[in-house]
């Protein structure tokens, strides 16, 4: 299963990803993305893959990555 990985050294909590992928990511009180299922690297269901890719493309800090098959 493909998973979402946030590179915390690069992420600045700009919140583009939480806007684009609310199913998987919600902003914490500082605007940093937290997975909605409280896992470290949330699994991306196939139906959400295009949206996940879009969020990855959009991250202004290139901090968001898809990992795994």
């Amino acid at each position: 299963m493909t998973r979402l990985h946030v590179d915390w050294t690069a992420c600045q909590g700009r919140g583009h990803c939480t806007e684009l992928l609310p199913e998987l990511l919600a902003p914490d009180e500082w605007g940093y993305p937290r997975s909605t299922d409280d896992t470290k690297e949330p699994a991306v269901p196939v139906a959400l893959l295009p949206h996940a890719r879009r969020a990855v493309r959009h991250c202004p800090r290139l901090a968001l990555h898809l990992v795994g098959p």
């Binding site: 690069a10 600045q12 583009h16 806007e19 493309r57 959009h58 202004p60 800090r61 290139l62």
Partner: protein, 183 residues
């Protein structure tokens, strides 16, 4: 026919300046880190990108129509290498330079993920040279240079960019004081 090219070049030229202004203003505004114009941040970023591609299209038509305009006397060379043109070399050269930077900006941005954050950011700062060059070129170069409507459009563009800078500085100053973070 030649008149048509001339009209096309002027129309697409002014449109390019307006589009580049939108691109730069939104690029700057989105760095402030809070939603602008009630749009979500990814929306502002999307318009920033789409408008930049649109600007490339208009700039292309602008340049090509001038290339075929006999009065402008442009060589193929002048479309890439600045300050060699026969007609108003200085003002034309500023436009050529702006086009070079625009190509660099959009090219590197389309390859952003392969380039890496640092290299992309450094090239993206060229935007702060690109827009003023395009602005000066628009004011100095064309047949409409002294016309009131062109000055009005240019004035509005300047106001938009200054407003975006002010807005960004005002929010980032506050954020810096609050968090000690200079981003």
């Amino acid at each position: 026919m030649n008149d048509a090219l001339w009209y096309l070049a002027r129309g697409t030229g002014v449109t390019s300046l307006v589009l580049l202004t939108v691109v730069v203003a939104l690029g700057i505004a989105n760095r402030a880190g809070r939603p602008a114009f009630g749009l979500p941040r990814f929306g502002v970023a999307q318009v920033h990108r789409d408008a930049s591609l649109l600007a490339v299209g208009f700039v292309l038509v602008h340049v090509i129509s001038l290339f075929f305009d006999v009065y402008a006397q442009l060589e193929l060379f002048d479309l890439i290498v600045p300050f060699g043109a026969t007609y108003r070399p200085m003002w034309t050269g500023l436009g050529t330079l702006a086009v070079d930077l625009l190509i660099a900006l959009v090219g590197t941005s389309l390859l952003r993920h392969r380039l890496g954050l640092r290299a992309w950011r450094v090239t993206h700062w060229l935007a702060y040279a690109c827009w003023p060059l395009a602005f000066a070129h628009a004011l100095g170069s064309g047949s409409d240079a002294g016309a009131w409507w062109l000055r009005t459009v240019a004035g509005a563009c300047l106001v938009a960019v200054v407003a975006a800078v002010t807005w960004r500085l005002s929010t980032s100053a506050r954020a810096t004081v609050l968090s000690g973070d200079t981003r």
